[in-house]
Symmetry: C2
């Protein structure tokens, strides 16, 4: 199955949860810490347990790079054991001048074989287009993020009255000739998301910020249903991965995960 | 010598050139391609030859990540052989929510032991502050970059009449409590640089975009002299690294490098 087909296959099967493998050595259960590659062991157990129920796994590159070359190897090993039907996201927030973005695209798509990537729009079109030249891969462009700093620049008002993040969304629509652009929009900015749904109509959404960061899953799901926007995935990380710190961590993660699926498919 | 001291030690000794090790396997001389780690061999020879004359080496992470875990190892090996007196820049353009930026900071400062990093401001203060918490390390924030896409967002006019990149510069000045912020400003945007020099007065500048990208070194140097701003480094990559493709590549790079030093210290 091609990467973009895989995205739609999952959401059309009612799977909207993306589990972010922000795996932190310090937070995994003690009994795993003595294996050769503890972060990989943790990921492997989570992937085996949760795969039938998730839309996607998202690997946050920072958590692997923090461990250097060994961490990069763990990242490679992890992405290779994710089952073929599950969509994969390289959460790298890359973006640089054209010839450099080309190299980042090679890294995530050719070498690591991810289905999609997150990219930062600040440097403009030629920093994003090397990713978009991969027709079959999805690139999620940051519009309005879930963190407090989203107010510093993303929410600034431009001379023409638009917010910067709205300008980003409109540019992404221009760049979307291969129908392979998506948008990152943080759940913590719910009213802005609500106001942007018309602009976002045709775009796959990656929504972080529920759980540890405080966004409301129920509000998001009701909004998506209301405007009939089915092309979304909700990212959760810490609230699933570290639900339990004991030998039952994978069971606890699964139970949390199934509860999220239930909340999405049968919202209160 | 501490990282920030090292920056000033070099520029106060009249060394303003940063050589960007954007090393591309496809562009290095044929005779190196059969060694165990061709990119490392190339970097090693360049570093040995050029170190006495450069202010800094900048490693562009994309070129290493494109080769996967092996590339990450090459990056590690390279940064470790850069002589202690030469300033090092992790050109990674990182930036993410706080707990993730924290991990990126750990990677570039604790693990790889770089003196400085480039960071992308789009996500705002909490995406940058984990880097700034390393008191002794310099963080160069992207303001106005050297690529064509810099017009898409960075040059947008805000409601209050400022350009977005000016707002970034002003925010960076607020965040500069530890005097460890710098700015990336592309040489290709010369008139904007000229108009920003008052705002940039106290800030170390990393200036890419001369050479292959078309910015004028002579114009930049005359401007810096005019406004008496000595805290700048000029990045060059392709025009030095690939000056010759033969066995004399290091000699050719050195000769180009010495010519740049001459142009900076005795501008026409």
């Amino acid at each position: 199955m091609k990467s973009i087909e895989k995205f739609y296959y999952n959401i059309n099967s009612g799977r909207h949860v993306c589990v972010g493998l922000d795996t932190d050595f310090n937070k995994i259960p003690e009994f795993l810490k003595h294996s050769d590659d503890p972060v990989f062991e943790f990921n492997k157990i989570i992937i085996e347990k949760l795969s039938p129920f998730v839309a996607a796994f998202k690997l946050n590159f920072a958590f692997y790079e923090a461990l250097g070359q060994q961490g990069f190897l763990t990242l490679e090993k992890t992405v290779r054991i994710i089952p073929e039907n599950v969509f994969t996201i390289a959460d790298a927030k890359r973006g640089d001048i054209g010839n450099t973005s080309q190299m980042y695209a090679k890294s995530v798509f050719d070498y690591l074989k991810f289905d999609s990537v997150t990219v930062n729009p600040y440097m403009g079109e030629d920093s994003i287009s090397p990713f978009l030249n991969y027709n079959d891969k999805l690139s999620f462009v940051l519009a309005l993020t879930s963190n407090p700093g989203s107010k510093d620049f993303e929410k600034l008002t431009l001379k023409d009255g638009e917010f910067l993040y709205q300008k980003v969304i409109n540019k992404v629509k221009e760049w979307n000739k291969n129908k392979n652009c998506g948008i990152v929009f943080g759940a913590t900015n719910f009213s802005e998301l609500k106001n942007s749904m018309t602009d976002l109509a045709s775009l796959p959404l990656l929504i972080p910020g529920v759980g540890a960061q405080g966004g409301s899953l129920n509000e998001i799901v009701k909004l998506m249903n209301q405007v009939n926007h089915n092309d979304f995935i909700i990212n959760v990380s810490r609230s699933v991965l570290y639900k339990s710190n004991g030998e039952d961590f994978a069971e606890a993660a699964l139970s949390e995960m199934l509860s999220l699926n239930e909340q999405i498919n049968n919202p209160a």
